[in-house]
């Protein structure tokens, strides 16, 4: 963490989820854009405090599920009606037998949706990302234990080392630290 490395941003620590949430509201109102909070568990109400909307991951999952359903429909009907119509035990094999395909269509819908949920989650969060500047901050280890952190990036237009630091201290941030890239 030598000084000639690029500054990533400023980090501050808070005592509790409640304190962090109030701080987040103030940072939001101050008009910052490139900032984040780090908590050991999802704090309910934080999205609003940060001014974030509803995650649109569900839309992607819907598309994934739709693809799954279409795959299921094609996979069952094309071979059974066109490629290799099979008569088993003299049972009917005409189009009214389509309900017999519902279980497979359902299962593939769920399968595709679940994989879409995972991959969209990774894509939206840009994970895996094994290196990140916040890991350079030695106190940050507690973000997965019982620490509540607020980090404002230097890329933010409103960022200024001295004024942002003062703001973070004013809203109750402790151990305000400069994080290097």
């Amino acid at each position: 963490m030598s000084q000639h490395r690029k500054v990533y941003g400023l980090g501050a620590e808070f005592n509790s989820a409640a304190d962090l949430m109030h701080a987040a509201e103030k940072i939001r109102d101050a008009g910052f854009a490139k900032w984040d909070v780090h908590t050991p568990f999802p704090v309910h109400g934080m999205d609003k405090a940060m001014g974030l909307g509803k995650s649109w991951l569900s839309a992607a999952v819907f598309c994934g599920g739709f693809t799954g359903a279409l795959t299921g429909i094609s996979l069952t009907t094309i071979p059974s009606f066109f490629l290799y119509p099979m008569i088993v035990d003299g049972k009917p094999y005409s189009w009214p037998t389509v309900p017999a395909f519902f279980p497979i269509i359902f299962e593939l819908t769920v399968l595709f949706s679940a994989f879409t949920a995972l991959f969209t989650l990774l894509l939206l969060n840009q994970l895996p990302k094994w290196y990140h500047p916040v890991f350079n901050w030695d106190r940050f280890k507690r973000a997965t234990d019982d620490g509540f952190f607020l980090v404002i990036e230097a890329r933010d237009a409103k960022f200024s080392e001295s004024r942002t630091k003062a703001l973070m201290e004013e809203i109750g941030g402790q151990n305000v630290t400069l994080i290097h890239d």
Binding site: D36, V37, D47, A100, F101, H132, D145
Partner: protein, 470 residues
Amino acid sequence: MAKSSVTLETPAELRREPLVTNNRSLAWITEKVSTIVESPTPKWWLISLCITSPIALMGLCCIVYQISNGVGVWGENHPNGWAWDITNFVFWIGIGHAGTLISAILFLTRQKWRTSINRAAEAMTLFAVMCAGIFPAIHVGRFWNAYFLAPIPNANGIWPNFRSPLLWDVFAVSTYFSVSVLFWFVGLIPDLATLRDRAKSRFAKFIYGVFALGWRGSNRHWRHYEMAYLLLAGLSTPLVLSVHSIVSFDFATSILPGWHTTIFPPYFVAGAIFGGFAMVLTIMLPAARIFPQLNDLITRQHVDKMAKIILLTGSIVGYAYLMELFVAWYSGNKFEGFTFFTARAAADGKGWYQWAYWAMMFCNVISPQIFWFKAMRNNYIVVFVICQFVNIGMWFERFVIIVTSLAQDYLPSSWGHYSPSTTEILTFIGTFGIFLSLFLLFMRFLPMIAISEVKLVTPEADPHHGHSKH
């Protein structure tokens, strides 16, 4: 903040018991769960693994022996084409239902007590489904042709029959396993990050770090994470109900007396949850004893609630048994009547497996009724013993359904006795070795309690906590 001087307090009798007792802090939860993984290998663990892994190895040897010699090394023969193999398959897959029920259905219904047991229950689900998957794969006989199950034109351009419940089963079980793995892994990511940040050795830091994917608890991540978790729960809920329904179709769509019935799907699903919870308790009660530090996380309240679910689902299963008997009588169908009143339920000795039926009745319907009493639900020894009855009873349920129907069906001339061969018995015992070995490895190397989820149910996690000092 106080707008009026009157504060509304919940009356004492309506206040809920805290989920984490003794008001533990967030750091305490991290510490207690992580040290299980971080402390030096305990002796009991090595001894247990030295017992379970040879059993697992024996099971694998039996499987190799069966594959190299053919299905003839088992006791299955005409008319009992299915017997212990499918009994064991349904037994294990049923056990695999509790994990997803706890993690998905109890999540959607906002049952917060699930948080301290869901991780271990989900792991148990995965291992049970692995054990289940062994049996259909090897009972097909020519194991090297097991890829015929896949939806591809396998031999001479012939596709599998997409209208067959057996093929539905292939899709259901493989989807169930895949989705359960995803759900489990997504839940693990924040906790792997916790272990990564605590790891002392470079190697542990590297391994946990790789699987934690660089998770840093960012709220911009949690936002999508929570949505993904909710959706996975929403997807798993119908999935878990579909899997055992489809397993029951394997039987219900045939015309054999005792199988050909519409009550099967709900009856199988209830039975799966029943047997699954019994297995969760079978594993969790000893774990709670071995790790007394977890007693503030896995409390009497949890055991009490699981015992109540066992009582409920056991009673549903009991209702299904009685309804089967009623329909066998009321339908006036001679063959149904014979299957239920001679081959299964009567005790006149004309049926061959009546002892199995009555063992099932006693274990599944009568024994859990003791859970009506709170004192019994709170006595860990009683709960553990009843869970063993349930485990045995649920295995017998599948045995009764499969073997009594096949051994004595329509024509007495085509009847045939069935008894398992040694290989068959050892294979089944071997799956317990595989299951327990995998679970021991899980306990040793992964956090067995969902750390970040438990933190969420503590009062400290509530962002409004601390506003009004009581």
